[in-house]
């Protein structure tokens, strides 16, 4: 029987030729990523070693990545002290893939990993963040785990208790119409699947739309796989993956391409023709509450957020820039832009995007998770509504349970900022 991409990756990571769907395996980890919650991982890691005679050492400091992004710069004494504790641990253990709060190397973990060539096709990547699914875009089996599970990985170098998941094959065919982006595709898919339609399963994205899509767009699709409940969202690596790794990530080592067997067993196949798709939005308070933008056009919006691990890449900023250049953000609306990494921030500076955003009235923030998870920066007031390019619109997500969040593409967000009302970006493209 043929194997899916994930079966093949798990077989390789367990030193076997074949693993069956449903088998419980313990794959070796190629990369183990944490952010600020490394503070909790360290706490749990120390508990594992408590009373044992072994030296307190991680299994392989070259395979651990720690990126500060959730609360940067620190919003509180507690966070600052946790970050200090993590820095000390990083130094003590010799962890090299550490990205501190710096203008020359920092950013959101799910952008830092790909752009530095830390994620390779065919590898197993775990992260203490649900959006670790992002890295499936490069052909890795990448999934989110909890802090205690990460502590176990730091100790043993493998993940215990992984059930080989089933895969749903998603075929995107047709053309991408003007004003429709990867974000619209994934929202549309989540609307079809529901927010638990892929629970415990993997989404594998295929089809001509994916073949023609660059890695930046693929990362959006894999990032939001978890919003359908999926363990991972994977794309078979191809020549675009090689281009990205060589040209963008500057990775010069070996790259092994891997693909599903032609007779691999999928639990479901979903075909979507994208040719007639219109821009999509997720309405409050669930990501699967997906509508055509025309159904909600005109709703007043108090805050527009462009950025995040979903849509804070240079192409996203370019989409927004092209719509907003020469125009102004509505007086009734705040527009917040937070690039996904300092590398992107610098590129956006060079290309003049940042200057144009500021001129239009937007506030450009430092790279990080920012308003997306409502910890600091950009909280909403009671009864306010946001339109955001982020990935979640749960009640209270942007810091206030008495507010609403709509999700959409950077182009739709920029158009919305100009009018202060939800706006179909295609209207501004025709002018």
């Amino acid at each position: 029987m043929g194997q899916t991409l994930v079966q093949k990756i798990l077989a390789k990571a367990t030193g076997q030729n074949y693993v069956e769907i449903g088998d419980v395996v313990e794959p070796q980890v190629s990369l183990a990523m944490s952010h600020e919650n490394a503070a909790l991982v360290i706490n749990q890691f120390k508990q594992i070693f408590e009373g044992l005679d072994f030296p307190l050492k991680v299994w392989d400091p070259t395979k651990i990545a720690i990126i500060f992004d959730h609360r940067v710069p620190a919003e509180s004494r507690k966070t600052a002290t946790n970050q200090k504790l993590v820095r000390a641990f990083v130094a003590e253990q010799g962890i090299e893939k550490f990205h501190d709060i710096r203008g020359d190397q920092g950013g959101i973990c799910h952008q830092i990993l790909p752009e530095n060539g830390y994620v390779l096709p065919g590898s197993v990547v775990v992260g203490t963040d649900s959006h670790t699914t992002t890295h499936g875009a490069l052909g890795a089996f990448a999934f989110g785990i909890g802090a205690t599970e990460m502590a176990s990985v730091w100790a043993l170098g493998r993940v215990l208790n992984v059930e080989v998941p089933e895969t749903i094959k998603v075929v995107f065919k047709g053309k991408l119409p003007k004003g429709v982006y990867a974000k619209d595709l994934i929202l549309h898919l989540i609307g079809k699947l529901t927010n638990q339609g892929a629970n415990f399963k993997v989404l594998e994205y295929t089809g001509e739309v994916i073949e023609n899509m660059d890695t930046s767009g693929r990362l959006v699709l894999s990032n939001m796989a978890v919003e359908a409940g999926a363990t991972a969202g994977i794309i078979a690596p191809d020549k675009e993956t090689i281009r990205y790794l060589r040209e963008v990530a500057n990775y010069q080592g070996e790259i092994e391409l891997i693909a599903a067997d032609p007779d691999a067993k999928y639990c479901d196949v979903i075909e979507i023709d994208t040719s007639n798709l219109e821009p999509q939005v997720a309405a409050p308070h669930h990501v699967d509450n997906v509508k055509n933008i025309s159904e909600v056009e005109g709703l007043e919006v108090h805050q527009v957020v462009i950025g995040s691990c979903t849509n804070g890449r240079i192409d996203d900023l370019k989409e927004a820039y092209e719509i907003i250049k020469g125009k102004k953000v509505a007086k009734t609306t705040r527009m917040l832009v937070f690039p996904a990494s300092y590398r992107i921030y610098n590129e956006a500076l060079e290309k003049g995007y940042i200057a144009e955003f500021v001129k239009a009235g937007a506030v450009v923030m430092n790279p990080g998770c920012g308003p997306c998870l409502g910890i600091h920066q950009g909280a909403l007031g009671d009864g306010e509504r946001a339109f955001s390019t982020t990935n979640r619109n749960f009640k209270g997500r942007m810091g206030n349970p008495e507010s609403e969040v709509f999700l959409g593409s950077p182009a739709a967000a920029a158009a919305t900022a100009i009018y202060g009302r939800i706006t179909d970006p295609r209207k501004l493209m025709e002018e």
Partner: protein, 163 residues
Amino acid sequence: MKVIYKLGNDISTDHIYPGRYMATVLPTETPQYAFADIPELNKLLNEGDKSEPRVIVAGNNFGTGSSREQAVSTLVGHNLIIVARNFARIFFQNSINLGLKTVTCPDIEAEVGDDLELGEDYLLNKTTGKKFSIIAIPPARRAIVEAGGLIAYTRKLLVEERS
């Protein structure tokens, strides 16, 4: 074991443990913020008697969203058992790792105040007399539970492998 509260579908990790408390990480400190944005439930948990296990009944997709482990440690601290129609994956795995008792019961019918009895493969609502089947964790995945959680299990493996 008594049902003390009933929740609907898609209770996310933001409901269970709002993002603004994420800087608090220690399992000893997280329980105070359980369901902070549902003040009635937060009060019930913080002021109630934790000596006996108490049950919260929920619908589909409990624990959807973030991988934040605080969403599990906060419930462990209140000595809760969560009965839901099903659970989101990361939350479910975190529950196994941290020893939060979860019961997957696709047809559960229970109201606040009902008395439940948990068997090997069933859940009995003693108040209504109705019995429901439950979905057990596959045997191959029980090692962590049987070892008393992932920290204990990892310690055991570490000792075996490094000795």
